[in-house]
């Protein structure tokens, strides 16, 4: 096998799961579960092998050459065009795959975590109906996500973007016979679409400005275009692309679909709404960092929205009682951290957190799935407790993930979250405060979850208690692997301040554009003193959160209720999610329905009334006029002619006396007239006759 085999065949990676999905569509119905497993889990396994092989071969190349592109065919060869700046460009969107450090990271996360979740699903969904349909959709999702991640231009990325949105809809509404599930699917897709509108507008503007969407060409095109920092065009493009990212990655104001998305099966929540799809926005912004770095205003907005989303979602997670809802709001909050990182220019920190978050959030969701499985479908934490000894593997791996997300060193969450907070402190200290508070909240609500679920007194109903059992190996082994990754996953980016060499940031460095003015504006880094202070502070706030959760949910379990009663207004506000869904309903959903009703009335009243009925009325009226014309005028003329003939005949009639005598007289008169005429004409006179 030649040494670049996997690099040359990266285009196969999305096709393996596509084949799985196609087979499920065609013959899935007739297959037993084991057949579905072989095809679907096997296809993702193959994709993972090829992905790892390609990434290894990429790393073996020298740093300057770590860009591998494989073009399959010309997809939209639109040809020559003029950009708004007046340059001549040749637009060509291909169906091609690009592997560079950034897509390599994403590829490993997607295929690795995806594979583990596929294995987990064989156990979790083993007794569910529609087994082949689930895996078909899951494979279709993998195809779309891999196309998104590997695409070599923004248009192909967008194809994957839409594809994952579709699969999200299909999988959230997997139990479509339940109205809440199908509603949640619709909500996800529609809210996503709103973001996509912004994305598309950004695409148009980008094409018009640069004449290309290909990632390898965008950088040089921007340099050639000579855009200044803060350029209006770049800011507009950045804003529009960010709008797309808010929809896909559940930021304010388009996050509302993600908590409802918990209606889907738990593996779906883990894969799509924790590890992969929601991170597409982060990936896209990082991919387009050349544009964003020229738009400081857009980046400021992005950072602020990220930070506000983080604390806003974190506050709602404090009071939720459904185990998956807490994790959903936690996801929105952590995505906010990633956008905060991107907004202050720490692109590598954002991607780093994306990776570590994928590990521990997927573990948290899969672990919660294991808990729900053990609890025979119960999801309300108020009916759980003291499960630690009953489901040991689940409980221990879950605890590992919780420690990781709380940001306790040396686990993965600490390294990535600290990188973000450090960058935020240097750039926008106010946002650092927001992130700092959120870190405390995160530790608190996550340990609240753990305490309510695994520790304390058992509030489990009697009939459920008998069935509590640990999950099968197909579910526990992925949990253990993800737990290991949650521990060591951060070590690849261990900061220099603590003695590491931050391989991760250096690996991703070539992807970040180095615009001269932007680089010059970054202040010189001082010593590591500030870093140590920040790290200590975040660890302390996390420990405070853990201590508070222990006090409120283990030592004095009656206190939370009393607090809720005393602060009932605040409690209700948080519990009802700030009534945002109701506000959106009143502002947008009902207005849209009203518009539809109005248009329907217009259709019935005006179109049907004026148009259709009106034409009928018009035809009848015209025919009435025609009838009047015919009977009055046309018939009148005919009668008039007859009457004239009658009038003319009156004197002539008088000649018909019926009396023979008058007839004889007429004869004589006629003869005399004729004779006179003849005599006159022929010239005979009395003199010429008589001698």
């Amino acid at each position: 096998m030649p040494s670049e085999y996997f690099l040359a065949h990266i285009w196969l990676i999305p096709l393996f799961p596509l084949l799985g999905a196609a087979l499920m569509l065609l013959i899935g119905r007739r297959l037993p579960n084991s057949g579905v497993n072989v095809i679907c889990v096997g296809s993702v396994f193959l994709a993972m092998i090829y992905a790892f092989g390609a990434v290894i071969q990429l790393i073996m190349r020298p740093v300057a050459q770590r860009v591998a592109e494989v073009v399959l065919f010309d997809w939209v060869p639109a040809g020559a065009m003029h950009t708004t700046a007046g340059h001549l460009a040749n637009f060509n969107a291909q169906w091609g795959m690009l592997l560079d450090p950034l897509s390599a990271v994403m590829l490993c996360v997607v295929t690795g975590v995806g594979f583990l979740i596929h294995v987990y699903s064989t156990g979790y969904m083993g007794h569910e109906g529609g087994y082949y349909r689930f895996f078909g959709y899951l494979n279709l999702f993998m195809f779309s996500m891999l196309t998104l991640v590997l695409g070599n231009n923004l248009l192909l990325l967008f194809v994957g973007w839409e594809g994952v949105g579709l699969c999200s809809y299909l999988l959230i509404g997997f139990y479509f016979l339940r109205k809440s599930a199908s509603d949640a699917g619709k909500k996800a897709f529609i809210v996503n679409r709103i973001g996509d509108a912004g994305f598309i507008l950004g695409l148009f503007l980008l094409v018009g400005t640069l004449g290309t969407l290909r990632f390898t060409e965008i950088g040089p095109a921007i340099e050639a275009g000579g855009f200044a920092v803060g350029s209006g065009l770049m800011t507009a493009i950045a804003f529009l692309l960010f709008v797309g990212a808010t929809g896909k990655s559940a930021q304010i104001p388009l996050y509302v679909w993600l908590p409802d998305a918990m209606e889907g099966p738990t593996p779906v929540s883990a894969l799509i709404h924790a590890a992969t799809m929601v991170t597409a926005g982060v990936y896209m912004v990082t991919r387009m960092n050349a544009v964003f770095q020229l738009a400081p205003l857009a980046m400021a907005v992005m950072a602020t929205i990220g930070a506000v989303t983080a604390i806003f979602a974190g506050s709602m997670a404090l009071v939720q009682n459904d185990i998956k809802r807490v994790l959903a709001y936690s996801t929105v909050s952590q995505l906010g951290y990633m956008f905060l990182a991107l907004g202050v220019g720490a692109f590598t920190a954002g991607i780093f957190h994306l990776m570590t978050h994928a590990f521990f959030k997927a573990l948290l969701f899969l672990g919660s799935g294991s808990v729900i499985h053990a609890m025979s479908g119960e999801q309300d934490m108020r009916k759980m407790g003291a499960l630690w000894s009953k489901i040991p593997v689940t409980a221990r791996t879950f605890l590992v993930a919780t420690i990781a997300i709380s940001g306790i060193p040396p686990l993965a969450g600490f390294v990535s979250k600290d990188a973000i907070l450090g960058a935020a402190f240097n750039a926008r200290p106010l946002l650092w405060v927001v992130g700092f508070i959120t870190a405390g909240m995160t530790a608190f609500y996550m340990f609240r979850l753990v305490n309510m679920t695994f520790f304390g007194e058992s509030r489990v109903p009697h009939d459920v208690e008998h069935h509590i059992h640990e999950s099968p190996a197909s579910m526990t082994v992925p949990l253990m692997i993800l737990a290991l990754l949650s521990i060591v996953g951060g070590w690849i980016g261990w900061p220099e301040s603590l003695g590491g060499s931050d391989h991760f940031a250096r690996f991703l460095d070539p992807v970040i554009a180095k615009h001269a003015e932007v680089v010059a504006a970054v202040p010189e880094k001082g010593g590591f003193g500030a870093d140590y202070a920040l790290m200590t502070a975040s660890v302390l706030v996390a420990l405070f959160g853990i201590w508070l959760a222990r006090r409120l949910y283990l030592q004095h379990p009656d206190v939370p209720e009393r607090i809720a009663e005393r602060w009932s207004g605040v409690y209700r506000l948080l519990y009802n999610k700030y009534y945002v869904d109701q506000i959106y309903d009143a502002m947008f959903v009902n207005r849209t329905k009203d518009l539809a009703t109005a248009l329907g009335a217009f259709d019935r009243g005006v179109i049907n009334g004026l148009g259709v009925d009106g034409v009928g009325w018009l035809t009848r009226t015209v025919s009435q006029v025609s009838m009047v014309w015919d009977s009055w005028i046309v018939d009148g003329l005919v009668n008039l002619a007859a009457r004239i003939a009658w009038i003319l005949s009156i004197p002539v009639r008088m000649l018909q006396t019926g009396r023979v005598g008058s007839y004889a007289l007429f004869i004589v008169l006629g003869v005399m007239v004729g004779l006179a005429y003849y005599l006159r004409v022929s010239g005979i006179t009395l003199h010429s006759i008589l001698p």
Binding site: M654, Q656, T657, G658, R659, V660, G661, A664, L690, P691
Partner: protein, 100 residues
């Protein structure tokens, strides 16, 4: 002597009397007699010219006309009698069935 002119004058006079008789008289039999008068006037005219010219054709034609007049009188009297049987009248004034 008696010239052709005298005979023509007589013929014309008889024609005119006959015409007046047709136009003026009420009784249809009288009208028929007037028609005979006209025919005879024509006969006189023909014979006079035959004498003048010296050929016999005029006289031959006059005999034709006499025959014709006889037939015509028979037919005419037949019509009058038929009409009289229907309408009981021989007066022209009262024969106005064909009026408008």
């Amino acid at each position: 002597m008696i010239s052709i002119g005298h005979y023509l004058f007589l013929s014309v006079a008889m024609v005119l009397i006959g015409v007046v008789g047709i136009v003026t008289r009420r009784n249809v039999i009288i009208i028929l007699m007037s028609v005979e008068l006209i025919l005879n006037a024509v006969n006189i005219n023909l014979v006079a010219f035959s004498r003048l010219v010296g050929s016999v054709e005029g006289q031959v034609f006059a005999i034709f006309i006499i025959t014709d007049a006889a037939a015509e009188a028979a037919v005419g009297l037949g019509i009058i009698i038929a009409f009289f049987r229907n309408r009981e009248t021989v007066l022209a004034d009262e024969m106005d069935i064909l009026k408008w």
